[in-house]
């Protein structure tokens, strides 16, 4: 090969590189464009919006729309409700998943495949197939319209997935560690707390993150079980507000931004955990 052809090939490589990068940038830009549009419109006044349309930058930074919206739906309270529910569910569901998976994956109980199929199915079920009896029962037990009811239901549903995933992780748990614990005279509970949980901490933190975010984003169950305004979660409050006719565009944008911000924050904080989790959940 002459030096000239090598040079040409390199130039061709550079052109392809630029082309591929430009194509990807445009495509990803289009995927992300809605976030940008929400951002610029959340800081506009209604007049500003009607003059410049949705794509113009705000002429002045207008915070009143966001402040009004925040006060109108008492957003701080909604954030707190969402946080309490998501954190409780994540903690409880991880605990239940660990206990189940310890018995199934490490204890290797008889009939564990049947157990696993059951937990898998429990996670696959459409919530509609459970919701009406749960709605009825919650009224009988005075749990309707309480955060506790939502926490109980979501803990069961998330723990079903957690059990399924963790059991396969625990199946490959190094037996030497378990034997060492047994030699030291540790009982089953001690082994679980002192050996199994610390060793599988990375997987557990992935599970926690997933449960937290899934619960935060949950819509169906809060829609049915949280009727009182002061119990509602962030997604629910936004959707309910949207159902009211007199909402203007800039309020919509402000509310959307306030709904997006926590989600994007979680995403940035947990990005590594999330991608690791998507992967580890994938192939087992």
């Amino acid at each position: 090969m002459s030096t000239q052809t090598v040079k040409k090939a390199k130039q061709g490589g550079l052109a392809t590189k630029t082309l591929v990068l430009a194509g990807l940038t445009v495509f990803t830009g289009l995927v992300l464009a809605p976030f940008l549009v929400v951002l610029i419109n959340a800081f506009k006044s209604s007049e500003d919006y009607s003059q410049g349309g949705p794509l113009a930058l705000p002429s002045t930074l207008y915070f009143q729309g966001m402040i009004d919206f925040w006060n109108r739906v008492e957003f701080g309270e909604k954030l707190w409700n969402s946080f309490v529910i998501a954190a409780s569910v994540a903690v409880l569901a991880v605990i239940i998943s660990v206990l189940n998976a310890y018995a199934i994956g490490i204890g290797r109980l008889r009939g564990r495949t049947a157990f696993l199929m059951f937990f898998l199915l429990a996670n696959l079920l459409p919530q509609e197939a459970l919701v009406y009896p749960l709605y009825y029962l919650s009224k009988q037990f005075d749990l309707y319209n309480t955060r506790l009811m939502v926490i109980i239901i979501l803990t069961a549903i998330q723990a079903a997935f957690g059990t399924y995933l963790l059991s396969s992780v625990f199946r490959d748990f190094p037996p030497s560690l378990l034997e060492a614990a047994a030699l030291d005279g540790a009982g089953k509970l001690r082994t679980l707390i002192r050996v199994v949980v610390p060793t599988s901490w990375p997987t557990l933190s992935v599970l926690f993150t997933f449960f937290f975010i899934w619960t935060w984003n949950e819509f169906f169950l809060p829609l049915i079980f949280l009727i009182d305004n002061d119990l509602q979660t962030v997604p629910l409050a936004l959707a309910v507000l949207q159902g009211q006719r007199e909402v203007d565009i800039t309020t919509t944008a402000a509310s959307a931004l306030l709904g997006i911000v926590p989600a994007v924050l979680f995403f940035l904080i947990f990005q590594r955990t999330l991608t690791r989790g998507v992967m580890s959940g994938a192939v087992k």
Partner: protein, 303 residues
């Protein structure tokens, strides 16, 4: 020796750990599921005594245009949530991993990956609000962009016109779902042994051949997982429909879960709602079973 002893010694001890989970699942999943099936054989408004009607609701379903519409619409939703994201995701993951990751840098590839994944983390209600606004006929972003570039005649009532509503929902769902297969497939591609590629290079294989013969073949497990999980979430779709179109106009975007919800909480026809959700559950279980069978059969053939 030690292993067998520890296995035999006190399995009942492990059973105790299962107790909280079993109690919780019995109360929240098993009993309600059985009750729901029971309710589907009754006429019941949620108060008073349920009245046994046998298979009446299921017979009615077979002749209900809304029921068939909801399942026809689900097929379209599956195209938007499963077929398109999987194919597009395969292509994007391959470009990002094989080309961008190797020739430009893994950092650049992961920035694109994160960008594409971002719509996945939004609450469904927020997705619905954002797109409901974008697709709005009079004040929406889409139509005003079309206007401003002189294509105003293309403007539509995207969500309010039965001709467009389902396509608009499909478009939104592609946007939501795309990032998931990209992340999954990129992580799968990491398992591909570079030596296989080098060997293929020596045999004179092009990029496309390497992609179809090696990459796609080796990330089959990820492809199965994506197909199963996205198909199931397509069948269960509720939130976006609730916020975007409420199944309308007419029944043009009606889906089974929304249809069930309507009967439970709007029409106070718990029996009928229970029948719809029972059918949906059966379909999901059968489909999962078929998928798992195909997957294990395929793995056995591969091994």
């Amino acid at each position: 020796m030690a292993k067998t002893r520890s296995r035999q010694g006190g399995k009942s001890g492990y059973l105790l750990f299962l107790l909280p989970g079993v109690l919780l699942f019995t109360a929240v999943i098993v009993i309600p599921l059985i009750m729901n099936i029971g309710i589907s054989f009754t006429r019941w408004q949620g108060i008073g005594t349920p009245q046994w009607v046998g298979l009446e609701h299921y017979e009615r379903l077979l002749g209900d245009a809304n029921f068939w519409a909801s399942f026809r619409n689900i097929l379209f939703i599956i195209v938007a949530m499963v077929v398109v994201p999987t194919l597009l995701g395969l292509f994007l993951a391959a470009v990002l991993f094989d080309y961008v990751g190797k020739k430009i840098g893994p950092g650049t590839a992961s920035v694109f990956r994160s960008g594409l994944y971002l719509p996945q983390v939004l609450p469904v209600a927020v997705t619905g609000i954002v797109w409901g606004w974008f697709l709005n006929s009079s004040t929406g972003v889409f139509n005003s962009i079309l206007d401003s570039i002189g294509l105003g005649f293309l403007a539509q009532n995207w969500l309010g016109d039965p001709k467009w509503a389902l396509w608009s929902v499909m478009f939104v769902m592609v946007w939501v779902q795309l990032g998931y297969p990209v992340v999954m497939f990129m992580s799968g591609l990491q398992r591909v042994d570079p030596e296989l590629y080098e060997a293929a290079d020596l045999d004179g294989a092009g990029w496309w051949q390497k992609f179809t013969r090696i990459a796609v073949h080796l990330i089959k497990p990820e492809i199965y997982v994506v197909l199963v999980t996205t198909t199931i979430s397509a069948l269960k779709i509720f939130g976006q429909i609730f916020v975007l179109t409420r199944g309308g106009p007419g029944n043009s975007t009606l889906v089974p879960s929304y249809f069930a919800w309507q009967n439970f909480f709007e029409k106070f026809n718990a029996g009928y709602g229970a029948a719809i959700s029972t059918v949906l559950t059966l379909i999901i279980i059968v489909l999962t079973y078929v998928f798992l069978r195909i997957q294990t059969a395929d793995e056995r053939r591969g091994a």
